[in-house]
């Protein structure tokens, strides 16, 4: 950062606004059959979007029931059996049928080919198959939940799940088993696509960080998911056939299950968080008009998380009866994975430095991601540290920690992505004001919900307790009150997104003045993403906002956020006439 030169660049003028695609991927055929048999990655992304939204809603209702019941120390609305089923439904739906497929299934499917300048994913039919497999798995899961429910917790620890529980464990576990294959298919598809189908000039060093993070995610999905498949299979074998694998009464080992389960389920939390991190890298750069700070560091820290993430599963088991030395080893390795996460946060902060920041909804969600992820990550250190984990393990401290990462991190990342790419996906702008309000309410409501849970956990309140001692009452009431704010916040986007489809202002091809290839085609994109005659050729890195050029080396249209009627995201605004930005670039380093 020593040499600073001021250069005036001659930049090619921004491309003319692309003509609306006729037909585009949405209006080419309206029949249900065309949707159910589509091999278009964009349509499959929409299929995923619709289905996971339903599961998110269902999981959210289960969470609402859980929180309402905790209003009273003896259970406010339901009995213990029903409570156990409610929190299991919440966990299973949110983890297996929302968080894991959310970003890879929706945004990954939709955007990966567009970002790298390809017409589709490498295996379009496999992509469609992944959605069907997912839906079949989810069907089993929903059947299990409706057919009396599952009462084992999403962690499914035997021998409770194999011997003791009288609930619908087998259909539920079978659903997880099946939907795992969908995850593998998506991971494989994305990985091959990134390797083989990048546009000319799209080198690894020019890949958007969203692609890097999904590449890392796919690696985990490919290598980790088979392990949960075999684990759930063994569990079903034990439960159905009584063959002793995990139950010591018939010769099994209950700790073996925990090793196998967490060997997948710990990396799986990186399946959930890494894509969110990718979204944040895209959004922060766009709305601060800056290059990402430390591209290599952010990209490689994704890969570092993916690889190191496989080697620390037993930190979920420090008090589960594992040996002293293995506890030391896994605590040490857990500290290592905290480092790349910290690097990312520092780099995101550095990205804002000397930026020109606007605060549209995607940016608010992305900033919320960073703020909440910092807390989620730092509280993880308490749990990776052996001496503190002994007390905090299996308490509400853990619950608060992973909700900060999963909801504060992943869900906000997903929301940021959804708001960022919604104009591209639907061709419509949503309400700028309402979306900002929703972002603020969700972030505030989130704090109100989960900060009291840290205190509860520190005071020793265990997880999965519908009955609790009087002294925990106050914090539980506070948490439930916060959850109602959070729940309200989630409802607002349902309305303005729905309204935007019918009444929203038509979006331009590049409403945020972003650099990625996905913005170079009209919104919504045509069937094969780009004009067949002019497939993109990449000449620049992904975040040349300071130079004012996109990845094809052309100028950027005027961006949003000037507060004038030119702001495409304002309610009555019109898109500015394209023209070269007045650009005096200060090149540093």
């Amino acid at each position: 950062m020593t040499t600073a030169t001021t250069v005036t660049l001659k930049i090619a003028p921004p491309p003319p606004e692309p003509a609306p695609a006729t037909p585009n991927y949405l209006n080419v055929d309206y029949s249900l059959w065309s949707w159910l048999t589509t091999v278009d990655h964009k349509r499959i992304g929409i299929l995923y979007l619709v289905s996971i939204t339903a599961f998110f809603l269902a999981g959210g209702i289960a969470a609402g029931i859980v929180r309402l019941n905790l209003l009273s120390p003896d259970g406010a609305i339901i009995n213990e059996d029903q409570y156990n089923r409610a929190f299991t439904a919440h966990g299973v739906l949110m983890l297996f049928f929302f968080l894991i497929p959310a970003v890879p299934g929706v945004l990954g499917n939709f955007l990966i080919p567009m970002m790298i300048g390809a017409k589709d994913l490498a295996f379009p039919k496999l992509n469609l198959a992944s959605w069907y497999v997912f839906m079949v798995g989810a069907g089993f899961g929903v059947f299990a939940i409706l057919n009396g429910g599952i009462d084992t917790g999403w962690t499914l620890y035997p021998p409770y799940s194999s011997r003791s529980s009288t609930s619908s464990v087998v259909p539920g576990v079978f659903g997880v088993f099946i939907s795992g294959f969908s995850s593998i298919m998506t991971g494989l598809n994305i990985m091959v696509t990134v390797h083989k189908m990048r546009a000319p000039g799209m080198t690894w060093g020019r890949l958007p960080l969203f692609v890097w993070s999904l590449y890392a995610t796919s690696l985990i999905q490919l290598l980790g998911t088979p392990v949960i498949a075999i684990t759930t299979l063994l569990l079903m074998v034990e439960r159905i056939a009584g063959i002793g694998i995990f139950d010591p009464m018939i010769g099994g080992d209950p700790v073996l299950f925990q090793h196998l389960f967490w060997f997948y389920s710990h990396p799986a939390v990186y399946i959930m968080i890494l894509p969110g991190m990718g979204v944040v890298s895209e959004v922060l750069t766009c709305f601060s008009r800056k290059n990402i700070f430390g591209y290599q560091a952010v990209a490689w820290s994704s890969m570092g998380i993916a690889v190191v993430g496989f080697m620390l599963w037993a930190h979920h088991m420090f008090v589960a009866g594992i040996s002293y030395y293995s506890a030391l080893l896994f605590s040490f390795l857990s500290m290592l994975v905290a480092v790349p996460s910290a690097i990312k946060v520092f780099n995101w902060t550095g990205t804002l430095y000397k930026g020109s920041i606007t605060f549209q909804a995607p940016m608010l969600f992305a900033l919320g991601f960073v703020v909440l992820f910092v807390i989620g990550g730092l509280t993880g250190l308490f749990l990776a540290t052996l001496g503190t984990d002994i007390h905090l393990h299996d308490t509400y401290f853990v619950v608060a920690h992973f909700h900060f990462v999963m909801v504060g991190g992943m869900v906000l990342g997903y929301m940021a992505g959804l708001h960022f790419w919604w104009p591209k996906m639907t061709g419509r702008m949503y309400s700028d004001w309402w979306s900002r309000v929703a972002a603020c309410i969700i972030i505030v409501g989130f704090f109100l919900t989960f900060v009291p849970q840290f205190i509860l956990g520190y005071h020793g309140m265990p997880r999965r307790y519908p009955n609790y001692p009087q002294e925990f009452h106050v914090y539980n009431v506070m948490s439930t009150a916060g959850a109602s704010v959070l729940g309200f916040g989630y409802l607002i986007p349902v309305f303005y997104f729905t309204l935007s489809l019918f009444y929203g202002q038509k979006a331009t091809g590049n409403p945020w003045s972003a650099t990625g290839l996905e913005w170079q085609s009209p919104s919504p994109p045509p069937l094969f993403n780009f004009d067949e005659a002019h497939m993109p050729v990449v000449v620049a890195g992904p975040y040349e906002y300071s130079l004012g050029i996109d990845q094809m080396g052309r100028g950027l249209p005027e961006g949003p956020g000037l507060g004038t009627s030119n702001d495409p995201s304002s309610k009555h605004g019109e898109t500015a006439a394209p023209g070269p930005m007045n650009k005096e670039t200060h090149v540093v380093g």
């Binding site: 620890y157 008090v319 500290m335 804002l352 000397k354 001692p469």
Partner: protein, 359 residues
């Protein structure tokens, strides 16, 4: 609704203090780090907002020096957490040699404990699912202050977890495998026991109490005095409990009952008091007198009663005598059994309980 609990929960063992120091070290360090990031974010968001800039931004790609700094410094800090945490954990999982050993068995959904001298007690469970008598038998895990105790645990069915927040200690209780935890209590009082590993319907009611008492009180209690028990009857497996069984078996209860049919003195709160004797004089009701009265009952008859009691010489062993004395010593007002009461199964024996939800 109660008022807010204290900021720092009660710390009642050496481990609790070890935990608190480490916890607050990590809390302070991470808070400083987190706030530094927040300060940066806030400053950039305010200072670099669009309205404050020309819209033109410098092309900053990164800085190797900064990357190196914010890789190495956090790593060092995280390792300091690791080493301190490992130090605390090492102490927490290695009980001292001289620790007294107490066995704890977890089952759905109650905890049972057994002391070195054979005393057994239910230390927690779901009272809603118990009979009246079982409910009376719920006691506490009584522990001595300032003495190390090792808990060796096993489960009868599924995985449980024996967690004591006041001691900042928890350990899973597995079927088919022993696990241990140990405590060095440092503060008198009563503390929660929670099952921390989800174990089914009444997981949240698989809770109990630990009572930390003074060393003398503990020894006294271990000898069969039931005062710490929270139950009316002597703790199962203790000497006094054996005496109670003999008291019923030898039909002492037929005459020494507390009801109108009594043909002999009530023995409640007898021990240590002065007894007026028939024909004048009196005697302290100590162990010697009670033993004598069992073996040669007509020697010193209490005033107001007829000498009708048969001699038990030859029927009771010296051990039985000790047990009976211990039992009489433990008898408090209102704890004499009913004359119709049959010998009950030992406390903690498997009892049938019909499953069913809250109504």
């Amino acid at each position: 609704m109660n008022s807010l609990p204290p900021l720092i929960p009660v710390a009642a063992s050496t481990m609790a203090y070890q935990f608190e120091y480490l916890f607050w070290y990590i809390t302070i360090v991470t808070t400083v780090g987190g706030l530094a990031v927040y300060a940066g974010l806030l400053y950039f968001c305010v200072a670099c907002r669009r309205g404050n800039t020309t819209g033109s931004t410098p092309r900053i790609l990164g800085s190797h020096r900064l990357e190196l700094a914010w890789t190495i410094i956090p790593t060092i800090i995280f390792f300091s957490f690791f080493f301190w945490g490992a130090f605390v954990y090492t102490k927490a999982v290695h009980p001292p040699e001289d620790a007294m050993e107490i066995f704890v068995i977890g089952k759905q959904w109650m905890w049972k404990a057994q002391y070195p001298n054979g005393q057994r007690v239910i230390i927690g469970g779901n009272p809603a699912n118990m009979t009246e008598n079982e409910r009376k038998s719920i006691g506490k895990l009584v522990l001595p202050n300032n003495r190390p105790v090792r808990i060796t645990m096993i489960s009868e069915d599924v995985i449980h977890d024996f967690g004591v927040p006041a001691f900042r200690m928890k350990m899973d209780v597995l079927p088919g495998r022993y696990t241990t935890a140990w405590y060095y209590p440092t503060r008198l009082g009563e503390y929660h026991i929670f099952c921390d590993q989800y174990c089914g319907t009444w997981h949240s009611l698989m809770v109990g109490k630990i009572a930390v008492v003074g060393e003398n009180e503990f020894d006294e209690w271990l000898n069969g005095n039931a005062i710490q028990q929270g139950t009316e009857n002597p703790v199962d497996g203790s000497v006094a409990h054996k005496g109670r069984e003999l008291f019923l078996k030898l039909q002492c209860i037929k005459c020494h009952s507390a009801d109108a049919k009594a043909a002999a003195p009530v023995l409640e709160s007898l021990f240590g008091t002065r007894v007026p004797l028939k024909g004048g004089g009196g005697e302290f009701a100590d162990a010697e007198y009670i033993k004598q009265s069992i073996l040669k009952p007509r020697l010193k008859v209490v005033q107001g009663w007829e000498p009708i009691m048969p001699s038990y010489e030859g029927q009771v062993t010296p051990e039985d005598l000790d047990a009976l004395v211990a039992y009489i010593r433990s008898l408090k007002r209102g704890t004499t059994p009913n004359t119709t009461e049959q010998m009950k199964p030992p406390v903690g024996a498997p009892t049938e309980r019909s499953p069913g939800g809250k109504n």
